[in-house]
Amino acid sequence: MRICVDADKCEGHNRCYSLAPELFEVDDLGIASALNDGHVPAGLEAKADLAIANCPEFAITIVEE
């Protein structure tokens, strides 16, 4: 599974980072990016899914199932 944060949509709510710090990092302005070039390590798919479902800006998408 591979995910991506759309930097134009992200407004820094930090929901992704607090739900799945293994998958995201946020900068000082709160803007998120996916760690590991978006590759979700096996076993963390459910966490990625939760982050997607909680992002108020619909900024996180799945680029590869």
């Binding site: 930090n14 607090s18 946020v26 479902a53 909680n54 108020p56 800006e57």
Partner: protein
């Protein structure tokens, strides 16, 4: 289509509402106490309601509509984000000031392109990392408040606890004396609660706060400190230092935005647990669900509403908006939309999929959201750790405040260690 003069308050203020779709009143007592039934009715009947009260305003109740409107800057402008428009004298003064100095309370009162640089100046103060540095201070504070009351067996969770935490934390961050928290709280209520319908109070407290920060600036002019005020004084936007007017505006916003809001969210959360035995027992038994519980309580009790001012004609659904009108960014109603949330009118403490917008969406996303979440987390964690049993003594004695910020203002409880 003629522009509506926003200072022209309709003569019906105070009259009962007969039809919420065409005549809603956000200051109506019953609405402040429990707005959800009104929203439910409106979503079916007229999802973007209109009123001529308070100078004319629109009230969306669907999640998608609120999101779309939040993203319609600057046609829907933040230049006057108060839910109730200022009285005529205040309005004149603001227009003159803004012409001379720029936005009054940036970033909340600024539109693009003025908005972004101000937002970027303050965001680092509230990043997840920065906020963790205020956690120990907040924990000490919460523990001290409980120490003070625990032996007496009773405590007002709103007045003695929720209300005490945010002003001290935000004072600590801004670099002003947390010992003056009671003053800061009074000033904030003067603006956000009293000031909504009392123009003299609004003017008076505005003066007090602005004069106070002017003094803080003078104290730091030759001797900068390691605090937010000094950082703002040293900051530049487009190669230019901020004027005193703008530094004061940002500090004013941080103070006021940080107090009423978070106090309301902590107060409502404790009120909820104090009146819902099942949820109270559940959190004692499963403390690990606190993070989802905090989000759920933010969704359900969403304390904050902001407004936009229509600058150019614009249409959403059937709503034809006219320049000069207000649009009420009804984040709380969006968070109860059954098209988005299962069982929207129930508190589900372990709701995992929760795309609520209690902190807004789009460019004006609450700058203090990480801080507010940390304060709620600490306040609830310490409360449940230190207090073994509690309950609201008289559910009818609760008082809610509303308009811009909705929250519990008194919640007397019986408590036991």
């Amino acid at each position: 289509m003629s522009d509506r003069d926003p200072s022209d308050m309709s003569p019906r203020e105070g009259c009962p509402v007969h039809d919420w779709a065409t005549d809603f009143d956000v200051m109506d007592e019953g609405y402040i106490k429990d707005p959800a039934p009104v929203w439910e009715e409106l979503r079916d009947k007229c999802p973007i309601a209109h009123t001529t009260r308070w100078g004319g305003a629109w009230l969306p109740t669907k999640y998608d509509d609120v999101r779309e409107m939040a993203r319609a800057a600057p046609t829907l402008s933040n230049r006057s984000p108060g839910v109730i428009p200022p009285a005529p004298e205040m309005r004149e003064l603001l227009i003159a000031e803004v012409k001379e100095f720029g936005s009054e309370l940036p970033p909340i009162s600024a539109d693009p392109p003025e908005h972004k640089p101000y937002k970027q100046l303050i965001l680092p103060l509230f990043s997840p990392k920065a906020v963790e540095e205020y956690r120990a201070f907040t924990e000490n504070l919460a523990n001290e408040l409980i120490d003070k009351h625990i032996a007496s067996g009773k405590m007002d969770a709103a007045v003695d606890y929720a209300q005490q935490i945010p002003p001290r934390v935000i004072a600590y961050i801004i670099g002003i004396d947390p010992g003056r928290a009671d003053d800061f709280t009074d000033w904030t209520r003067g603006i956000i609660e009293l000031g909504q319908t009392d123009p003299e109070a609004r003017m008076k407290y505005r003066r007090l706060i602005r004069d106070f920060f002017q003094e803080m600036i003078e104290e730091r002019r030759d001797n900068p400190r390691d605090d937010a005020i000094s950082k703002l004084m040293a900051a530049e936007i487009n190669g230019e230092k901020l004027s005193d007017y703008s530094v004061i505006g940002v500090c004013f916003l941080l103070l006021v935005a940080g107090i009423d809001t978070t106090w309301s969210s902590i107060g409502s959360a404790l009120w909820h647990f104090g009146t819902h035995e099942d949820d109270r027992k559940r959190l004692y038994a499963e403390p690990e669900i606190l993070p989802t519980a905090v989000e759920e309580l933010l969704r359900y009790y969403s304390p904050v509403v902001m407004a936009r001012r229509v600058l150019d004609p614009i249409k959403f659904g059937e709503a034809d908006m006219v320049p000069g009108e207000k649009v009420i960014m009804n984040f709380p109603a969006a968070n109860r939309d059954p098209d988005v949330f299962d069982r929207p009118d129930e508190v589900v403490l372990d709701r995992e999929r929760n795309r609520h917008i209690a902190f807004g969406v789009g460019i004006h996303r609450c700058a203090g959201s990480n801080l507010a979440r940390m304060e709620m987390d600490v306040a609830l964690r310490v409360w449940f750790n230190r207090i073994g049993e509690f309950e609201v003594t008289d559910p009818d004695a609760v008082r809610w405040t509303g308009g811009q910020v909705r929250g519990v203002r008194t919640a007397p409880m019986r408590i036991k260690a």
